[in-house]
Each structure stands twice: as C-alpha cells, then as structure tokens.
Amino acid sequence: MKFSFNLIKKLAPGKYDKALLVEKLNLHSFEAVDAGGDVLEVSVPPNRFSDAASHLGLAREASVIFGVKLDDPAAQAIKFDHKDQGIFRVNIKDKDLCKRYLAAYAAEVKVGPSPEWMKNVLETCGLRPINNVVDIMNYVMLETGQPLHAFDADKVSGGLVARRAKNKESIITIDNQDFELDNNILVIADAKNVLAIAGIKGGKLSEISAKTKRILVEAANFDGTAIYKASAALKLKTDASVRFSHNLSPELARIGMFRTLSLLKELAGAEIHPPVDVYPKKQKSDILRIDADEINNLIGAEFKIKEIAAILEKLGFKKKAAGKFETPLIRPDIENIEDVAEEVARFEGFNNLKPVAPSVALGVAQEEEIILLKDRIRNVAVSAGFDEIYSYSLVSEEETKTAPAEIFGVSDAVELANPMSRQVAVLRNNLASGLAKALKENLRFFEEVKIFEIGRIFGKTKNGVKETNILGVALSGKNAVLELKGFIDYLFRKLGIVDYFLPELNLKNKLVKLNESLRIETGDHHVLGYLGTLEGMRGAVLEIDLEKLLKTVDEEKEYEPLSKYPSIIRDISILVDDSARVGDILDLIQRVSPKWVDDVDLIDWYQDEKLGENKKSLTFRIVFQADDRTLTDSEVDKEMAAINKAIIEKFDAELR
C-alpha cells in the first residue's frame, strides 16, 4: 500500500527523515520500502487495516517509535452550519451486513479543483485527482482509513436504504460498467434505484458532477466477509472493498465522517449539517487486565509496568484502573494479553531481547520411522551409485496412465479443481514415469544414468485420497533390469529383509515390458512393488511402497559361525536353449546336492550367433562346503558329476 511520507510527517512531526522512518517501521511495525520520491510502500498486515492502513495509523506508529506527538486533525472540534440533519431518511434493512451507517447532508457545495497539497497526496498514493468533493472522499480514506462516498443529493429520491440486492437487479457504476447483482450483495438504494454497491463502488446515477450543489456523504461500516464475497463474485476489487474486507472498526466511520465534513466546509465552502448515525449494535470497548508478569512470561523479558503503560497510552489505550486498560475502538485486533505483549515487545524492540536457553525436561528426540527408513534407503541407493532426483508432484493426466499404479491402489488419479494448465492438472500416481523421463534427458549428457527418487504418490479413494511414500529407481543400460534385481537384493539385505519373492508382474501397462517385469513380494506374499525393463528405451525401473516395506523390515540379524574347513569351488559352463530359465537351473543345482552346495552363482552369460540359434552360454560357480570336515576332491567330483547329469537331462544342455 502506498503512503505519502510528507503527510505522515505532517501528522507526526519530528526530526526524522524518510530513510530512518523506513528503517524503523521495518524493525517495529511493518515491512516498508522507500519507493522513491514521496512514496512509501508499506505492507499493512490484514489484522491492522482498521487502525494502520492509513496515514494517521502510520503516523501513530511513528509517534511511538520516535516519541513525538501525534497531530490528529480528526480530533479537532467541528462547527456545523446547521443544527438539523436535513430532510432525508436512512434505513438499514440488513443489520448483519451493515453495522453502521452515517450520512450527512451538505449544501452550497462548490465543486472545483482540489488544493495542490491534497492532489499531491492522492497522486503519491496512486489516485487520480478528480474534483474537490471526490478528492476529499479519497483523501479522508487515505488519512483515516475509512472509505467514504458522496451522492449527489438532488439525484436521491427519498432517502438511503442499506439492503440486499434483489436477484437480477443491476447497476451501472461510475466507470460505466453494468453489474447484475444478487441477494448476497448489499446495496445502497433510494426509493427507486440502486445507488451504489455497498462498500465497493458507487453508481453512475448519483455521481458527483460539476453541477452538483448538494450532497449526501456516506461513512458506513459493512461486514467484511460479505464485502469479500461480493467483491469476489462481481470480480470487482476497489480500494474501498479491500479495506472493508478486512473488517474495519465502526468507529472509523465516525472519525472519517467528521474529518470529511470539516474538509468539505474548508475546501468546498459547503454548509454542513450534523450527520445521521444509524448504529444498531454499538461496538463496545474492551477492558483488558494487563499484568507486566504475564507479558514478561510470554516474551521472556523484564518490562516494567510503567514502560508498558507508556507505550499503550501512546497507542490510544486508556488506563481505567490499576492494571486495567480500555483498548482503542479502532483496534479490534487487540483481544488478549498476547496481542498487548506484541505491541510492547515490538516497540521495545525484538532485537533488544536477550536470548535465553529454554529449560525443559530431558526427553529422547525421536524421528518417525518412515523418515528414518527413507534416510537409510537414500544412503543405500547412493552407496550403490544412484543419484537422487526430486520431481514435481503435479503432472499431466497422461503421465498417470503409464505405470501399473493398481499395484499401489492409486490407479484413479487425483485431479485439481483449479489446475494452472493441462500439463500440471493431476497429482502423480507413480514416480516411474518421471524417472523414465529424467533417464532419457540425462542420457544426453551422461553415458550411464542411475537415479532414484523418494516421494509421495496419490490416488483417489471412495471418500478421499490415498497418499503413500514410494521409492522409485531407474537406470540405463542393456541388462538394467538385472542390475535392479541386484539392487533389490542389496537394499533388502541392508534392511535385514531376507524373505522375498520376485514372481512375474502380470499387469498390463505402458511403462514396462510385460515379459521382463517382476512383482516384488514379501515372504508372506504382500506386494511391495515391481520392477521391469522400460518400453521404448534401454533401461529399467522399479517402484517400492515404503509404508509396506516399513512393516516388512526386520532388523534381526544373527551371527553365523565361520566355517573351520576350506571350501571347494567349481565352475561349470553349459550351452542351453534360450528358453531355459537360469532360476530353474540354480534351483536344480541346489536340489541335487543339498548337503554340500553352499552357494551357487551365475558368473557369466552370453548369447552369440556362433553358439547356434536360440542358444545361450551360462557359467555357474558352485561353492561346496561341509560343516564337519574338509571335503576331498573326489567327493566333490562325484557331486559335480551328479549335477552335470541332472542339468543335461533336465535342460538338454551341452557341457562346454
């Protein structure tokens, strides 16, 4: 919000310049910047519009900061030219939406240009000077914070009514816009017409013109919520509507009215009448019990009650009795001792507050298990050479239709009600498609890409949204899916999971190849996730549900005695048909020699035209070991013969 430095200084005269005011406002009041020339840009917080979204308000802050007097023109006595209020009626039909309505009649108004000082303030604050009557309304709003409106009294028939608009009722505003209104919108009307959209904008009909002689001045108070909703519904935001939306104090209407009338008299030669004040439910001032200890206990300071009282009195609080203060009517934001503590602490200076170490009972700081699990997985993934990426939670609908999301129960993607564009209109239900995309993009710069992400995915459920933590891993390369299989083994071993299966995935999807994808299952057949070779590129991807994994993680590890006897290692190379499954051969070897085979590994495999059509060469390494003695070569030879025979018979293999 723009302010005139000169006007603030006029209202709170003292020895300070603009830079110092900006500095001090920042430290004690509101965020402020010097916007050049006379202009100050100040962010008045939403709870302070009643008292501080005005030059008087900022001058009041300055008066406390610099210890100078506030020169409040609104406090000056006013001399009316008439005792009567003039002949017109004011009626509030909806007392919830209109809390107070002051209206005053002024005659003999001489419409003309405003004085330079007033034009300057308006221009500094970004308003265009129009004529003295309209300018006074705007100026008083800037000075006091109360929006005002002037009607040409000769265009008003009967009196003013604050009522809800009838459905389909319409108005043409002073800037010639036509608005259709409804029952939720408050209007100011006379006997015949809608004259203004209450608290938002005036109508063309009763607009002040060069010929205007008699006016009705409005200073009213409207319900903030109603104005906020009406302004949103009409898509019409004005200085007045923004102010009223913040719930102004009804007291401001009185202040604004009297200031307006005295300026009309002074600058437009108007003969002023005392205002009509319809105020169905008067705002009561609060009495707060203010105890220095209570404030000090909250802030951790040692303010004296005298210091506290001095600040409060400058802010317009009135001392009623020992430790009891009446809060100013224009400060509806002050409701309790915390609010008072803020006033005191900020003027005393937050930066003068001495830091104090909290004294609390010793407890064990804990981290939620899922957070710890994520940490561990990150460390494992990084140690295995994977780089961590973050990607966006908002994606296009297409991206939610690639991965086999039903495995996590999130195939029904969650849509936004107000997306920014089609490309970011739904919540991701998988990490895999983002990883695949990142894989592709990074292959422009790197020969090999190994990435992972830990993040939330979402899916629609009957009554809400399912949200779950997922690990996604992707890497490039020809046999990437086998590397991922190895990664799962590595990860699970690190997490202490020994019992798991990798059956076929058997879920149709666009992301991974159906014949090169596996499901990741726990020993008791809970599905943790899947892995597979990506369609359309050399690479593979896996996704694991971390919430489910967390339930599976078993920290039990037990020491196995080291063997006292040496083991014997034999390699066997075979040529088999392409359709032979390595997993079956491994099983067979174990089965044939269950007693002595300690470990079997596939250590090499390749396919080549020279091997013959649909043939592959496999090399296994078998480790023989007995618990109770050293095996002899001849014993192992016998076992190997049995293994060879079984493989040849079962898989039609050829020894190499």
Partner: protein, 364 residues
C-alpha cells in the same frame, strides 16, 4: 700394495654407488662389496685372520673404515633413490589422476534437510511427518486463517476436485487441498500429543503461483513447534540463533522484525545477515542503503536475508486443539528449504531443484 688395492676398491665402490640409478643396482652393489658371503670388503675382512699381526694392524682399520664408508654412502643413496623413485620412476605414474570412486549423490535439499534435522535433534527436537493432501480445516481454519478473509489470500491454494454436491450436502466432511505450508502438522501433532514437546516437520508444500527463478508450485519447508509451560520468545531467539550459527557454520547475526501470521502472536520475520557479502550492518543505522553492497546478488544490497516466519503460538490455535491457552505457551516457525539451499550453495534458480538434471545433482 694393499693400500693401493684398498684405494681402488673404495673408488670403484663409491663410483658405482654414485652412478646407480635404481634400488636393484644399488642392492647389487651392496652384495658385490658388502655381501656376507662373497662381498669384496667382507672377503678382505675375513682374510685378516690369516695375516700377521702387523699386517692386521695396518689393513684392519683401513678395511673397517672402508666398510663403514661404503655402508654410509649406500644408505644415503638408498634414501635418495627411494624418495626419487616414489616421485618418478617406480611402476605407477602417480601424477596420473586418482581412480574415480563411483558413488551416487543425494539431492541438495535432502542434504540440507538432514543437516537441519541433525541440528534440531541435537537440541532435543523430534522429527515428525504429515500428509501433503490436507483438509481445509487443518490447513486454514484450525490455524486461525478464516474463510472469506483477505488473510487467507496470502496462501494461493491448489484445491482438489471433489464431488461438489457431496461437499455441499456434507456427505464429504472436508474440502481437500494441497497443503500450502507445513503448519497443519502443528495441529495434527498437538491433537495427538500432550505438551511439553518440541518438534520439527520437514515436508513438501504447494502454492498456486506462476513459476520463475524464485517461485515454484511445489517447494519444501521445515516447520518447528515448541510448547511448554514457560516457553518464551526469548527462548525462541536462543534456539534460532543457535540453529543458524550451526547451519551456516559461523556466528551469524540474526534480526527479528514484526510480521503477521494468523496462527502466531506476536508474529515475527527472521532475517539473517547476508552470508555472501557478510557485511556488518549497523543496526541502528539510518543510512542502511548507503552502506549496503548494491551489487550483492543474494541480499540485493540490504545486508539481510529474509529466511523464516515465526512467532508465539496463537491462543486460538491452542483452543483449536483443546489445549487451555492459559496453561501452555510456545513458539512456532517455518523455514523454506530451497531458500536455505539457494543461500548456502549460491544457487540462482529455484527451478533447478525439480529439474532432474544430474549436471546439477552431481555437484553436491
């Protein structure tokens, strides 16, 4: 005669030591002259026993001196050669670059988050988690951010599409949104726990905002909350001062300014002095601008970096979780992870974090 032979032996030994180029030839020289079996000097010494007393007296000391001299020269040369060899001539050329250790990289925000968690854990804060899809109640209402009030406009919100008729007819209890801050976890945690406690909540948040170098639709925050009988603003100042000093690894100066968040009272903005231009701002200076380093890309010449919103928990927030505000008090704060990472690592564009670009990630 013997003397002459000794002289020749000496010259030959010293010369070959001098000319030897490697450890192997040096060892050969040692064996040739001093070898226990067949060394030339050894042989002379061994032959002493067959000589007359006179000859023994004459040659003995000479041979011993020669043995000693050769030994010393050999050792010196050995020392020279070993250093020299390490530098240049053994099998591996050590000027070659070291073999790359291949390990992956954590995302910079993970690194920062972890650091922040470690610091707070050391101060006895627990780490908790909360959902990214939130209800209007937790994200706004319970935090004293009323409906149809401009205060709520400070949080531009992504709303989820729901069956409107079900929402209107209250069949669906809650209007859902993407949380705009981590603060709803304050409410969720307090509903489930009794004070005193102190927690932090790292997490992803969302804003309906046009993206540019400093704005993103999703970003990350760390929320903090400490509640007890006598937790004061001065306590907050201590904790946060401690936190920033550890985070930035130096005794960084902080500044508190009044601010407004509906769920705290008093409300504060925390600034840290600009890490980059590390300029000391005279706190009471009226000529702040003149002092400022206008060219500083991080603080834009103000000397301060706005980094955190904070305050004392609002009594209405305590009421929303059924605490008696007269029994409990505490502070809350919120910190942008991207902002911290950008300051700490001098990252110019917030959009890099979600780019998935490994040229960026591999730097950390």
């Amino acid at each position: 005669m013997e003397n002459k032979k000794m002289e020749e032996l000496k010259a030959s030994a010293l010369n070959s030591i001098k000319n030897s180029k490697d450890l192997k030839s040096l060892e050969e020289i040692r064996v040739k002259f001093l070898g226990r079996k067949d060394g030339e000097i050894t042989r002379i010494l061994r032959s002493l026993k067959d000589l007359s007393i006179e000859e023994k007296r004459k040659i003995g000391p000479l041979a011993n001196a020669l043995q000693k001299e050769i030994e010393e020269t050999l050792n010196e040369k050995l020392k020279q050669l070993t250093t020299y060899n390490l530098q240049l001539t053994t099998g591996i050329d050590l000027t070659m670059p070291g073999k790359k250790v291949s390990s992956g990289h954590l995302h910079p925000l993970t690194i920062i988050e972890k650091e922040i968690r470690e610091i707070f854990k050391a101060m006895n804060f627990s780490v908790v988690d909360g959902p990214e899809v939130e209800s209007e109640f937790y994200n706004f209402d319970a935090l004293n951010i009323p409906k149809n009030h401009p205060a709520r406009d400070a949080w531009d919100t992504f709303w989820l599409r729901q069956n409107e008729s079900k929402v209107e007819s209250k069949k669906l209890k809650e209007r859902l949104l993407l949380r705009t801050h981590t603060s709803p976890v304050q409410i969720r945690y307090m509903e489930q726990h009794k004070p005193p406690f102190q927690i932090i909540v790292p997490g992803r948040v969302f804003r309906y905002e046009a993206t540019d170098a400093s704005h993103e639709t999703n970003f990350h925050q760390v929320e903090g909350l400490m509640v007890g009988k006598n937790i004061t603003l001065a306590n907050f100042k201590f904790v946060i001062q401690e936190f920033f000093s550890r985070l930035f690894k130096k005794n960084v100066k902080i500044r508190l300014r009044p601010s407004y968040f509906p769920f705290v009272e008093p409300g504060l903005e925390v600034d840290v002095e600009c890490i980059k231009c590390s300029m000391r701002m005279p706190e009471q200076s009226s000529i702040r601008k003149a002092h400022a380093n206008e060219s500083c890309s991080v603080c834009k010449g103000t000397g301060w970096l706005e980094i955190m919103g904070a305050g004392m928990v609002h009594p209405k927030v305590f009421e929303a979780v059924h605490y008696n505000p007269r029994d409990w008090q505490g502070f809350a704060f919120g910190l942008g992870l991207e902002r911290v990472a950008m300051i700490k690592y001098n990252i110019p564009d917030i959009r890099l974090f979600c780019s998935g670009d490994l040229r960026f990630i591999k730097q950390f």
